[in-house]
Point group: C2
Chain length 81, copies 2
């Protein structure tokens, strides 16, 4: 089963990379009032059980993929994939 | 209007970061057969016109956010946001 984990800096956490991207976009002439930069991880997980996959991905995100102190994450499962 | 751009290494492009993440997840005991790491950018764009936003985001992605030679991108608009 395929899944995608989206990892974002939490609200209120400084995001210098996002500020740099926003500034660069404005310099290029785009009307952008804010930008935040995060990561994504596409994972091929060896189970077809959605509940099991969801639980494993939640643990992976907490233990390795994200830093729960400063980042939030959302898990998307590609059912049937 | 809010939008999210997802940027991924193209198929066939080496992704050492993804390989390291997959290896780390397997070391932690997760049954994972592959992982690929990309970026995401949340953008607040100053228009309420979806077509205009889409066109601007497409240009932003090509010119700054992604490297079209080795990365693909997908644009998601949060309509009404």
């Amino acid at each position: 089963m395929k899944a995608t984990v989206l990892i974002r800096p939490k609200q209120g956490i400084l995001d210098p990379q996002g500020e740099a991207v926003g500034e660069a976009l404005r310099t290029l002439g785009f009307a952008v009032s804010g930008a935040r930069v995060g990561r994504l991880v596409d994972i091929e997980i060896d189970t077809e059980d959605a509940a099991e996959a969801q639980a494993a991905l939640d643990r992976m995100s907490r233990e390795l993929l994200a830093n729960p102190l400063i980042e939030s994450f959302t898990i998307g499962l590609e059912e049937g994939a």
